[in-house]
């Protein structure tokens, strides 16, 4: 017994009331699991809409069917779908489109989802260059990395920033706060 280093014992693990022994999943809102192939199928449908020129429909569709319950791969696929839509919409169309979504039923929720994707997109340095590793933090979203110049990241970042500006104008700082404290991550 004398060899035991008492300081390294995790006393919390021995306490039945300790936070370590909680089932943390009960603290988060329930999400339905989605497989990566389903997300892939959805991406195909949305691309179809996009090709047909229905940008608003595509964005709406992508934000309404956000795969909270998907694994990392599925979430990655959906992120790329959303980024593709965002990049295909012209700057002058952003504000009218956002305010139309905001005024519709459940629109504020959709814009919160969009805000999540903007932050997630910004945390990727090269969003169009496939899945690069990112640094997820305990909060569920990643810090903005400094831009690596010379790749497509700079251009994508400027798209995110202009969307972000327009989005805050319409949905307010409340939307940013919701991204930070929402336990359902994209």
């Amino acid at each position: 017994m004398s060899q035991v280093n008492w300081r390294t014992i995790n006393v919390d693990a021995l306490d039945p009331d300790s936070a370590l022994n909680f089932d943390m999943s009960t603290l988060t809102p329930a999400v339905t699991p989605v497989s990566a192939s389903e997300v892939q199928g959805l991406a195909g449908q949305i691309r179809q809409l996009l090709r047909g020129g229905d940008h608003e429909g595509a964005l709406r569709g992508a934000l309404e069917s956000v795969p909270y319950g998907a694994d990392e791969k599925g979430k990655e696929i959906h992120l790329h779908t959303v980024i593709e839509i965002l990049q295909s919409i012209r700057q002058s169309e952003m504000s009218p489109l956002l305010s139309r979504i905001y005024q519709s039923e459940g629109g504020s929720e959709l814009l919160d989802v969009l805000m999540k994707y903007l932050y997630k997109g910004m945390s990727h340095t090269t969003p169009t260059g496939g899945a690069k590793q990112m640094a997820p933090q305990a909060t569920g979203f990643s810090q903005i990395h400094p831009l690596r110049t010379g790749d497509g990241g700079g251009q994508a970042m400027s798209v995110f920033l202009s969307w972000h500006e327009k989005l805050v104008e319409i949905a307010g700082p409340g939307s940013i706060v919701r991204v930070m404290c929402d336990r359902r991550t994209v």
Partner: protein, 363 residues
Amino acid sequence: MAQPEIHHLFHRPIADHSFSSDRQTLAVARDNLIEIYGKSGQKFALQDELRGHDKTVTGVDIAPNSGRIVTCSQDRNAYVWEPSSSGWKPTLVLLRINRAATCVRWCPSESKFAVGSGARVIAVCYFEEENDWWVSKHLKKPIRSTITSVAWHPNSVLLAAGSTDGHARVFSSFIKGVDERPAPSVWGERLPFNTVCGEYLNSTAGWVHGCEFSPSGDALAFVSHDSSITVVYPTGPDMEPKAVLSVATQLLPFMGLIWTSENEIIAAGYDCAAYRLRGDEQGWQLAGSVESAGRPGMDSHREESALNMFKQMDLKGKVQDDTKLKTVHQNTITTIRSYAGSPERVRQFSTSGVDGRVVIWSV
């Protein structure tokens, strides 16, 4: 619309404030002590200091009828202060918690008070005659994290608590020998101690900052860090609530709220202003700021004479002093309380915040 009554007490954060029932005495929590202010004319003057806590005081509440003050602090203690001929006499309360106490409120009957804590328990404290001592019983299950706020139902048995685990819960704090059996309500009929009468989570599961029962006690509203306010209308015990209405605002998060009537809520927080919400079981909407309703003199500091403008430019190298907010409070509002009127129709309310101001507003 009457002008708000502004009392700038000091340049330190006010963790909590409470008025006596005659509104002549004001107690504020300032750092490690509680300052008692007395009204003299239009102002509040410092009268007394309650010393005893050795860490930041987090909650203070004056019982309206008995005049007793209860305080709690990060030093894990709570005191009940009773007025006596030689000043305020403190009595230590046995909280039995191993983390900071975060909030405290007297129940309407004043026979009990509830202390929320970081130890994932709520200590419901009552006076034990035999031992001449304030003792506590713990509400434990199913709290998973720090309690940020407690609020009492008008029947003094039901207690609402908001927590950083994202849940707003309604508990029974029935203590035999202290409480009378409550009348059956939408929250339940038989209510032994630690009955969980309701457990609510909003869509984002953001941590809850404040919660409050409606004047009738048949609805519960809570504000959380996702800038939303959620109103719950329960149907009955073990049934799904009639309506859970969530309003996601464009604003920064709210810290606290009060019901001014069954159909109106006032909430305030990080936006440094109080906002009005109106609604019923069908739905709730944000109805604007309490402040913006034409406060005269609000623009006066912006319309400056040419002389003044050049003087400012010369002095500071800029035209306007943009370090001042346009709101009355210059920092986050942390506490909001009813000031005048009945619970069913609050006419005035008071707010205090990080800027050291206590402001009395007309609804």
